[in-house]
């Protein structure tokens, strides 16, 4: 029995409450998702009715093929782009933030206060859009994938550094000392001794940030415009013209781009929860 179970310790009540909770969760959360799935299987005319009905005829495969083929296989290109973006930027974030978080936790210096301030600013301050484009243009990175990858890394670093710093604090210093006595230099100490121990927090960072980067719409919109460079979030606008939205295809697309986060959720539920609730207990 956990703490909160003791709060509601009258056992008789909970069946009615459970029934109410489950029914309302179905209405509020399950029906919208069921609506996506059902509409994705309808034909174009029935989908345009926008109602919650069973499809007259199932067109799952046909809709799937049409969505993939739309605008010269844009969705395929977008999936490739998104995958490259997500993998590269998350890998960069993990390595850089782990190094920074490690030194930030271990080394006491007069700069620590300032560095912590910078890390927190990164969480709070909204990035300035046009000046960032200006900087990217000066560097020759505007409208390029490497540019967007660096942007995602820069904006995601703060969150990762905080997680890594907190986790490094739980690794005993004696371990560092032992490694140093055995002759390890700074790089060796970090990559051979510390980095492998960070495994659980690395998984958390990877899962949370890859969902974030994959779902990101704003940064690709600003920093990587153009159909050739589309990421998956931008493909959603393929099917919604002002007057002739193809709802079956639109919802098929939503369904397809929801699958990667869903897989993450099914396999890494615990790590996602750990990452997103860090800070809830300590404040």
């Amino acid at each position: 029995m956990s703490t909160a179970e003791l709060v509601n310790h009258k056992p008789g009540r909970s069946y009615l409450l459970s029934a109410v909770a489950i029914v309302s969760s179905v209405v509020v959360f399950v029906i919208p998702f069921a609506f996506i799935v059902l509409t994705a299987m309808k034909d174009r005319q029935q989908a345009a009715d926008l109602d919650f009905t069973w499809p007259h005829q199932f067109q799952f495969v046909q809709n799937f093929v049409e969505v993939v083929k739309a605008r010269d296989y844009m969705l395929v290109i977008a999936f490739i782009n998104s995958t490259i973006l997500t993998v590269a930027s998350v890998a960069g974030m993990v390595v850089l933030a782990a190094m920074a978080g490690f030194v930030l936790q271990r080394r006491r210096s007069k700069w620590n206060g300032f560095i912590n301030f910078l890390v927190l600013s990164g969480l709070i301050i909204p990035p300035a859009v046009v000046p960032t484009i200006w900087v990217l243009q000066k560097l020759g990175l505007f409208k390029t994938m490497p540019g967007l990858i660096l942007i995602e890394i820069a904006f995601g670093l703060s969150f990762c550094i905080l997680l890594f710093r907190a986790f490094v604090a739980t690794i005993p210093r004696e371990l560092d000392e032992a490694a140093i006595i055995d002759g390890a230099g700074p790089l060796r100490l970090f990559f051979r001794v510390i980095f492998p121990l960070l495994r659980s927090v690395i998984i958390t960072v990877v899962v949370v940030q890859s969902v974030n980067v994959f779902n990101d719409f704003v940064n690709p919109l600003y920093f990587l415009p153009g159909d050739q460079n589309a990421t998956v979030q931008l493909t959603l606008y393929n099917f919604s013209g002002q007057f002739s939205t193809q709802y079956n295809l639109l919802f098929m697309d939503i369904l397809l781009i929801t699958i990667p986060p869903l897989i993450m959720f099914l396999f890494f539920n615990r790590q996602i929860v750990a990452g997103m609730t860090s800070g809830a207990i300590k404040g």
């Binding site: 029995m1 703490t3 179970e5 709060v7 509601n8 310790h9 056992p11 909970s14 409450l17 459970s18 909770a21 969760s25 399950v30 919208p32 998702f33 609506f35 009715d49 926008l50 850089l96 190094m99 920074a100 490690f102 030194v103 709070i124 301050i125 909204p126 990035p127 300035a128 859009v129 046009v130 000046p131 960032t132 200006w134 900087v135 942007i151 890394i153 820069a154 670093l157 550094i161 210093r173 000392e177 140093i180 700074p186 719409f217 704003v218 998956v232 959603l236 939503i254 781009i257 929801t258 869903l262 959720f265 539920n269 996602i272 929860v273 997103m276 609730t277 800070g279 809830a280 404040g283």
Partner: protein, 311 residues
């Protein structure tokens, strides 16, 4: 003489000590090299700090990315004179306050519910949390369809029980609140999760002691759960305020700031001015957003973190 003074110094405690011995020449050897900061520092400064500082200057100019002309505070004056832009400013504040307020209340209630002994707890937790992971644009387009005034599922359902639903996204009075509603729908799972983590970490003994003393459900909630989940509340408030003030994707997906400019927020104004080529004005919007976020979040987090929990 000197060596005597050295030996008489109390050895520093282990945690304070520099782990490795100082090398010759007075320079300390440390395995925690500042070089480790270098790549992070370069990326972060070039792509985040430089643009942030540059935005302060360029917000005072008429700017075409290649040349800029200093025009003083004209952009800011324009921002606070043009009704469309002022609307964006006030909407941002309303949106952030409404969404974070609802997330705190609903998140806490759901967390208490989902830590109690009810049937299907795991299912409920998953289903409440899952929207957090779904693409914001996808959710926006989904609800655009569900909130369709004539054909939409929501008004259809309300019609069955005899309520004439409003034009959620087409009525200027409702548009912003409808988006806020969807934002809460999508984000409440995260608030709930944070509260659950907070509640679960409350030591059992407190509850047991309260029960022995004869406290009912309400009293234990009021006297124990509420004060002790304060760190969670701080996290939820700060996170959802930051998110709410910066919110763009959902608004863009659902109304693009419309009808008219009644659901514009600062972020959507920034994007619209950027598209229109008014880079100076867009950057001024960014500076205003920066000032709003810091002016609200910094004092608030200082205030919330300062107060100690007294049980």
């Amino acid at each position: 003489m000197k060596s005597v003074t050295i030996t008489s110094i109390r050895p520093r405690s282990r945690s304070d000590a520099t782990p490795a011995a100082p090398a010759a020449g007075g320079k300390f050897y440390t395995p925690y090299s500042f070089w480790f900061y270098l790549p992070t520092a370069v990326i972060y400064s070039v792509l985040f700090l430089v643009p942030t500082f540059a935005s302060f200057y360029y917000s005072l100019t008429r700017w075409s990315l290649f040349e800029s002309k200093f025009i003083g505070l004209d952009n800011f004056v324009l921002f606070f004179q043009e009704p469309a832009l002022v609307k964006g400013f006030t909407n941002t504040l309303i949106f952030a306050v409404v969404t974070s307020g609802s997330k705190v209340v609903l998140g806490l209630l759901l967390a208490v519910l989902l830590t109690s002994r009810i049937v299907g707890r795991g299912y409920l937790r998953s289903v409440v949390f899952f929207p957090v992971l779904v693409s914001t644009i996808g959710v926006g387009l989904l609800f655009q369809v569900l909130m369709n005034p004539e054909q939409g599922l929501i008004n259809g359902a309300l019609g069955v029980i005899g309520i004439d639903g409003p034009g959620w996204l087409t009525d200027p009075k409702w548009a912003l609140m409808s988006i806020a509603l969807v934002d809460v729908w999508k984000g409440v799972g995260l608030a709930t999760l944070i509260y659950i983590a907070g509640i679960v970490s409350i030591p059992r003994e407190y509850m047991e002691a309260a029960r022995v003393d004869g406290a009912g459900s309400w009293e234990s909630f009021r006297r124990i759960v509420l004060p002790l989940s304060r760190p969670a509340t701080v996290t939820v408030v700060i996170l959802s305020l930051i998110g709410g003030l910066r919110s763009f994707e959902l608004i863009w997906a659902m109304t693009r700031g419309g009808p008219g400019f009644t659901s514009d927020v600062i972020s959507s104004v920034i994007y619209k001015q950027y598209q229109a080529g008014f880079y100076g004005l867009s950057t001024a919007g960014n500076v205003i957003l920066f000032l709003v976020v810091t002016a609200i979040v910094l004092p608030l987090s200082w205030f919330l973190n300062r107060k100690e929990v007294n049980l």
